[in-house]
């Protein structure tokens, strides 16, 4: 796996291409970027037919152990790995531990084990069992086993944080040892997990120690939305990034909100999970980015610069700690259940090229939502995934062309210039 960076802002963001993702020698993906979120290998609500209407798709698919751990015996008997098992022929596969969308109970971690929760309940994993699963799944890259519980407690002690860093390093060493002895995993990459809760000292120690190991990249854990103040998080991520080698990718877990994504990119993050469009879909909403970054709009936005600046700042400081992100609407979406869309015969987002917007209207989506029809989830998931991918594409472009400030004002500001929603 090779990370080719075309632009690096010292102590800040990076732009580039991640090539030869694990064993998937022909897969490359641009960073900053997002993975393709799945449950048990399926993008929620979508079949292959509907998924393939989206193009281009993120080239790396995320699988969570919590959705497949209970099928270990089946996969062992199958022998050809999860990609083939799930009919995922043309993607690289990344396997992480927990489902970022489903909360899991704390208090089930021991020195030697972590637990994941599947449909049939808790499954306790030792490193040996964890690696047996990886052997059966044969991902192209995977997250090493980690004690990532520190962010869940209200007041986690310094002692507990230190323990989680130590355990996670010990798990990583064991994983790497087995990894190198497992022929089925040759060529796959292991991502080391950086823990350390809200302690700068432990974060730096975890990053330094993990970086010493032969890992392909890094997972930044314990920064999930709601677990700490945003400004503290970006400070810690930036501190961690400074300790990590430049040529290896950094994946941030549990952060998906567009404004938070941008802040974390600025702190040095390359990769994000893409559970956010799914959460938006589940609350019956549609993402409505305005990604028109043409010079004309740039002039218009810059003329109104002062006001916009203010909006962006106030949003950052007006955060809600431990917000219930599954329920709370963000400023980037419209609630299609709202009766104002009952008679609205326009597409969700003008100019969006997704299957939903090219074929259907807001009123139809509103109807599907109020009648609880399954197609609502399908169409919204298609639209939201398309919008989220476009968001990342536009972000990369803005970074590459040194237009981040404009991008932030245009895309992240609540009062977006010339935007339909702003007029209402």
């Amino acid at each position: 796996m090779k990370l080719e960076l075309t632009r690096v802002v010292q102590g800040g963001y990076r732009v580039g291409v991640l090539r030869e993702v694990g064993r998937a020698a022909h897969t490359s993906m641009e960073v900053p970027g997002c993975l393709l979120y799945t449950r048990c290998g399926a993008v929620p609500h979508l079949t292959h037919d509907t998924l393939r209407t989206l193009s281009p798709l993120p080239p790396v698919t995320q699988l969570t152990l919590s959705t497949v751990a209970e099928h270990r015996e089946v996969l062992e008997e199958y022998k050809d790995g999860f990609k083939k098992f799930a009919g995922l022929h043309d993607t690289a596969l990344y396997c992480s531990l927990h489902d970022p969308v489903t909360p899991y109970p704390a208090g089930h971690i021991t020195n030697k084990t972590v637990s994941v929760w599947g449909s049939g309940g808790r499954i306790e994993l030792t490193v040996a069992r964890f690696m047996a699963l990886q052997k059966a799944l044969r991902p192209d890259l995977y997250q090493s086993m980690a004690d990532g519980e520190t962010w869940q407690g209200d007041a986690t002690s310094r002692k507990r944080i230190r323990k989680s860093v130590d355990r996670t390093l010990a798990h990583l060493d064991e994983c790497l040892l087995i990894h190198h002895q497992t022929p089925e995993l040759q060529g796959a990459e292991v991502l080391g997990v950086v823990e350390g809760g809200d302690s700068l000292e432990e974060r730096v120690r975890s990053a330094k120690e993990t970086a010493k190991r032969p890992v392909g990249g890094f997972c930044l854990d314990g920064f999930q939305t709601g677990c700490m103040e945003r400004s503290l998080r970006t400070r810690l991520i930036a501190a961690v990034a400074r300790e990590l080698p430049e040529d290896k990718p950094r994946l941030l877990q549990g952060v998906g909100r567009p404004d938070e994504v941008v802040a974390c990119v600025e702190a040095g993050v390359d990769l994000f999970e893409s559970f956010f469009p799914f959460q938006v879909t589940e609350r019956g909403c549609a993402l409505t980015f305005d990604l028109d970054l043409s010079p004309d709009t740039e002039r218009a936005v810059l003329e109104l610069g002062e006001e916009k600046e203010e909006t962006w700042e106030s949003e950052q400081s007006g955060e809600v700690l431990l917000e219930d992100q599954a329920q709370t609407m963000t400023p980037f979406e419209m609630d299609l259940k709202d009766t104002k869309y009952r008679d609205d015969l326009t597409p969700l987002v003008d100019g969006c090229g997704c299957y939903c917007c090219t074929n259907h209207q807001r009123a139809y989506l509103h109807h599907l939502l109020v009648t609880n029809e399954l197609l609502a989830g399908v169409l919204l998931m298609l639209h939201n995934t398309a919008q989220y991918n476009s968001f990342f594409r536009a972000l990369r472009e803005a970074l590459a062309n040194d237009k981040l400030e404009f991008f932030k004002k245009r895309v992240l500001s609540r009062k977006r210039v010339g935007h339909k929603e702003a007029k209402e």
């Binding site: 009919g87 449909s119 009123a363």
Partner: protein, 402 residues
């Protein structure tokens, strides 16, 4: 080749008889409707709320579906005919380029709404959304269906359960005839929308015959056989179907309402029916029940956890082309996409079955097709349902013993 066009001067429908089985009453036709030609016999999937259970209109089209159903009762309630009309009809609202058939709304009312009352004027019921009283008259039903813009509309009929006996059955039949006249008079789009009559008469040969005589006097483009598949004895069911097809005009389509089990479809094609609809294939899919030539396969059942074969190795649907029973079994524990996979397979199964039936009629080997079909469906001939054996024998198809 026999070719007859509709005798209806203005109806936007023609039926071309492509082939007739020389042994049974089975027939293969090309039913030309405003949005495309529908090869029959045809199974029509049901999209109650203007959507087919998680399947996009493109997917449905790719499966080869040429006509599907929408429910007037549901769509008339939400989102209402005014909005649908504004959206260029139900076709525009749900973005479906092929044909649509809408029911009258009466059946749903009687079966879903407890407090409904039938008078000569129409069906009176309390709205489940708001509780106000609504009267569905034949005129109102057609008005809504005109707004929906379906290619085939159904008359409002006076529905009684097929297990009811006595004078109520005759009353309902006679009223259905009167309501047909009112529906025909109310149709604002006779040049664009076909109105089908519904034959009633319960399980009485005499009443059915009377209804057939009356309704076939009217110049309607097609006929439905109604009031069946509501829990009556199958022995009564097939006799009513067969009586109806005996007296329906040869050059007009015959639609058997609410029938969709594979065996029923094959037998009723033999009895001379052309069109069928049923919610069963899509409803059962959501519970993980996949339709196969040997019956059904319960994907969620433990025995398929390590079964790496597709649902049906001979099926060419997108699900069977890509996924195994084991994967679908695992996916059912995680996501609704699993249901969509089985729904796609089940619709494909129904449509493929009807295409095979049609081809066998055209090839002149329909009786053999029926025999092979029954052999695959039942492990031994003593498992054949008696009514199916009798019904098939009545049209000169005698099943083999095995």
């Amino acid at each position: 080749m026999p070719s007859l066009k509709s005798l209806s001067a203005v109806s936007p429908l023609t039926l071309r008889l492509v082939a007739e089985c020389p042994v049974s009453k089975a027939r293969a036709c090309d039913l030309a409707l405003p949005h495309c030609v529908v090869p029959t016999p045809v199974f029509m999937p049901v999209g109650t709320q203007g959507t087919l259970k998680g399947i996009t209109s493109d997917q449905l089209e790719d499966l080869g579906c040429n006509i599907c159903l929408g429910n007037t009762y549901h769509l008339g309630m939400r989102p209402g005919p005014a909005l649908i009309e504004k959206a260029s009809g139900l076709h525009g609202f749900m973005n479906w380029r092929r044909n649509l058939l809408t029911d009258s709304g009466g059946f749903q009312m009687v079966s879903l709404v407890e407090l409904s009352e039938v008078t000569e004027e129409g069906v009176k019921f309390k709205s489940p959304y708001g509780g106000n009283e609504i009267l569905l008259t034949p005129e109102k039903s057609i008005e809504i269906q005109n707004s929906l813009g379906s290619d085939i509309m159904m008359q409002l009929d006076d529905v009684v359960s097929s297990t009811v006996t006595g004078p109520r059955v005759e009353e309902a039949m006679r009223r259905s005839v009167r309501w047909l006249d009112r529906c025909m008079a109310a149709n604002q789009n006779p040049e664009k929308q076909n109105l089908f009559a519904i034959i009633q008469g319960g399980l009485s040969l005499e009443l059915r015959k009377t209804c057939l005589d009356e309704m076939t006097k009217r110049d309607v483009p097609g006929f439905a056989i109604g009031g069946l598949s509501g829990g009556e004895e199958k022995d009564d069911f097939w006799k009513m179907v067969s009586l109806s097809t005996d007296h329906l005009p040869r050059h007009k389509p015959r639609y058997l309402m609410g029938v969709g089990y594979a065996v029923d479809l094959v037998v009723c094609v033999a009895l001379g029916c052309d069109m069928f609809d049923c919610v069963f294939p899509t409803r059962t899919a959501r519970f993980g029940s996949a339709l196969v030539p040997w019956g059904s396969l319960q994907v969620k059942h433990k025995q398929f956890a390590k079964d790496f074969k597709p649902i049906d190795p001979d099926c060419t649907c997108p699900t069977c082309q890509r996924h195994s029973r084991a994967y679908l079994h695992a996916l059912f524990k995680n996501d609704t996409a699993a249901m969509h996979h089985v729904t796609i397979h089940n619709i494909s199964y129904q449509l493929t079955l009807m295409r095979s039936v049609r081809q066998s009629i055209i090839d002149g080997r329909f009786p053999d097709f029926v025999k092979t079909f029954m052999k695959k469906m039942f492990p031994s001939s003593d498992k054949y349902p008696g009514w199916a054996v009798d019904a098939l024998r009545s049209v000169n198809i005698t099943l083999d013993q095995h």
